[in-house]
Amino acid sequence: MSKPKAGFYWCASCGGCEESVVDLAEDILGVVEAIDFVFFPVAMDFKREDVEAMEDGEMTVCFINGAIRSSEQREMAELLRRKSQVLIAYGSCSYQGGIPGLANLCSREEIFKFVYHDSPSTDNPQGTRPQVRFDAPEGELELPSLDKEVKSLDQVVEVDYYIPGCAPPTALLKAAVEALLSGDMPPKGSVIAPDTALCDDCPRIDTKPAEPLITEFKRPWQIQIDHEKCLLAQGLLCLGPATRGGCDHACIDGNMPCSGCMGPVSRVRDQGAAIISALGSLLNHDDPDEIDKALDGIPDPAGTFYRYGIPHSTLYARCGITAGNGES
């Protein structure tokens, strides 16, 4: 019997998801033994033509990481969807938009303006902007165009499973592969990770007081962080209560607050709103001015509470960013 075929592709991402595969260490040998990688641009030399040449559904599974922002990424997502039986959104970007998704706070024009004009490190006297078409000596070139917004994978193609994390914990990848091979998969649409929040297995939970614990929000560099005490209780914005566990509390062990990469648990529609509600409730002020003062300690609520998931959130993007064409 032939081994199941698998693909691994990246869209708008940093490469960390690929790293997470390498992080399997010797376990990767078992994977490679059980699975035939037929498409893995970062690691192996396959071309798009190779995928196009496949039968529809020829790949048993394809892991796509990275958000979708360009015409190329969309095309690849659609192509890989056709060619695979199971499509897995791998990592925060693919699952919820991730860090690239923060770009949904700006219009494409604002981004271009900053990147090609305003940013202090830019030297671009001609005001050159990216072009979709370009007359090269070899002939006209067509380059991928940048979409107006960043999307998660499931906003472009149907996704069967999600593996969260930035980058996904190797344990989850391993579990997913094992489940795939054994055929013991959860219901379609599932997020392959535990369905309770990080606090559930946080080693510091016993140090968290059951009281309105926040009077002031602090940034990690502002304090000497206690290695044992609940980070929220120290005034740090730890998103653990509203973030799915399964990461083996890696950040907490590194003495850093959870920034929410695993996304919300299944019962919560909007991770950021959930943490807004929880933290707002626990703020220990009644006076409106005092509340405002405390909230000034969170200079960027959208970036803080939706760091990995603006495209997947209820509001999806800042109002009006798709208005106009944003072309240069």
């Binding site: 369905d195 309770t196 929040a197 990080l198 606090c199 559930d200 939970i205 968290k208 007081p209 059951a210 009281e211 309105p212 614990l213 653990g240 209560p241 509203a242 566990g245 648990v265 299944s266 019962r267 919560v268 959930a274 943490i275 509600s277 929880a278 707002g280 409730s281 626990l282």
Partner: protein
Amino acid sequence: MIMHRKSPEDQPRIGVYVCHCGVNIAAKVDVEHVRDFAASLPGVVVSRDYKFACSDPGQELIQKDIREHDLNRIVVASCSPQLHERTFRRTCADAGLSPFFFQMANIREHVSWVTVDPGAATTKARALVAAAVRRVARAEALALRQVPVRPEVLVVGGGIAGIHSALTLANAGKKVFLVEREPTIGGHMAQLDKTFPTMDCSACILTPKMSDVKNHPNITMWTYSEVDEVSGFTGNFKVKVRRKARYIKEELCVGCGDCVDACVMKKEKVQVPDEFNVGLSKRKAVYMPFPQATPACMVIDPKQCLQLMKGKCAQTCVDACERAAVDFDQTDEIVEIDVGAIVMATGFRPFDAKRIPEYGYGRFDHVYTTLEVERLVNASGPTGGEVVLRDGTVPKTVGVIHCVGSRDRRHNAYCSKVCCMAALKMAHLVKERTGAEVFDFYVDMRTPSKGYEEFYDQVLSEGVQFIRGRVAEVTDWAMTPEEEGKLVIRVEDTLIGVARRVPVDMVILAVGLEPQVDTAEMQRRFNISCSQEGFFLERHPKLAPVSTFTDGIFLAGACQGPKDIPEVVAQAGAAAAEALALVDRGHVDIEPNTAWIEEEACSGCKTCIPLCPFNAITRDEEKAIAVVNDAMCKGCGTCVAACPSGAAQQNMFTDEQIYEEIEGVLAYV
């Protein structure tokens, strides 16, 4: 926790009933259209409009449909759930359906009564019906929680309202705690001389009731005491009562007054105005408010007593008391009681006439308030019943001014209801006692009660002169020799259309009734609402006039709004009956809208625990999750909204039910 998950075969079969409410809804909302619209919604099996859904035939129609069409969800689009939710829940229950498979859409108070345009009203009604249909499909069969009710009742305030409530309850065999903040019960009625319109002597009809209270085996009477804290809920209130230090041992004092005679504050200038006589006489530091005070027990005013203020006094009172009842070491004592129901009978305060400076009260010696004149005409008052002015003369002309602080947009827009009759009573009494010529300045004469108009007629026939007009000012500015030394009442006589100056010797201001100064504080302490003018708010102006929005707390008397004595007594009886109906049943049904935690979803993050105002959430350390104590939860849902895991849910208000409602109001336009 009572929760029934929906089984798959339990597909919603919804019946929708759009009520006309006579013309109240139908005149504005196109009820047939809403009915047809509802019929098109998913899950709706029956959709009807009906003249009066709450009527017996209306309810029977619903019950018939439940049986015949096998309906398992009911939506009634009619009035506010505050009014008829219970009615329709019972309808459902009687037809064998869980009362919580019922949802109301408020298309009267929120639609037909507040919307100008019929088209817009119909659109809004559709949206609310759609939301109710979507929501009811997610409803779960819950059971009412039954909680035992304590049989004791707390009555707050010992005026005539509190006295009557307490006696009614005690006579029915219930144990009553009567808490009064003054040193004696009796309230304002004890200060009155006569009561209109029959002119019974106020003391003669009140004091027997006061001693009944004192002697009733079922009544615990605590005067000079205040309610500090109320917690718990209907049927099971926990109340902390502060028994203020009286510095007299109540069980020893017989009210002989030897200590008063002995008190060193002999000189009148060191004495203080006597509250009972509205400052028309003075009292010492140790005193009894009035001879029939109940309990007949002295009290020492800590703000006047030299011993208590400065720790230095000859303590002649101690020596004088044969029973050794004086006790300077007394301190406030907090008593905790458990009661099933509370009757609020905290009364009113008279309008402060100084707030209308143009009437000269506090500036001119001879301007009095009605309450002061009550004391003047009273045989046991400071003048022994003689109407003499502060300069010792007897007035020959008297002006009575109505609506002082009432029906006046600068102060209180409302009518204080009792002052017209009180003014007439004053006119009658003063004329009777002094033979003076009495002028009565009224804005509108309001005497609509049994025997009241007849009393007005009587006073008319006695020769009191009535002048219709709002008095502009009371001044000592004389323009003619006849006005010299008199108070001149300036008024536009609106019946003859001229501005008049009426010189008088004495002015009586018929002051209105206002909420007690600390009503807002009381409102918070007892968790009840106030109406705009500051009186306690009844649950419904017509159908629940003595109930509050807080179950188990009832209103009696003028704390709910201005009232005269007959009305106060009637209402006090009603409040007692309502309280009795509650405590006599022995248990109370509580809405099952409590919160609960889905165990497997809870991460044990402890967010919810400190948010609960009733400490109903604790942490199960073994399972490392939060647990809601169903009996303590009052169903606010704060923990549910805050749960970052979606693990906390509230019965009757689950996230999904509310999302359905959100989608429902927005989906079908």
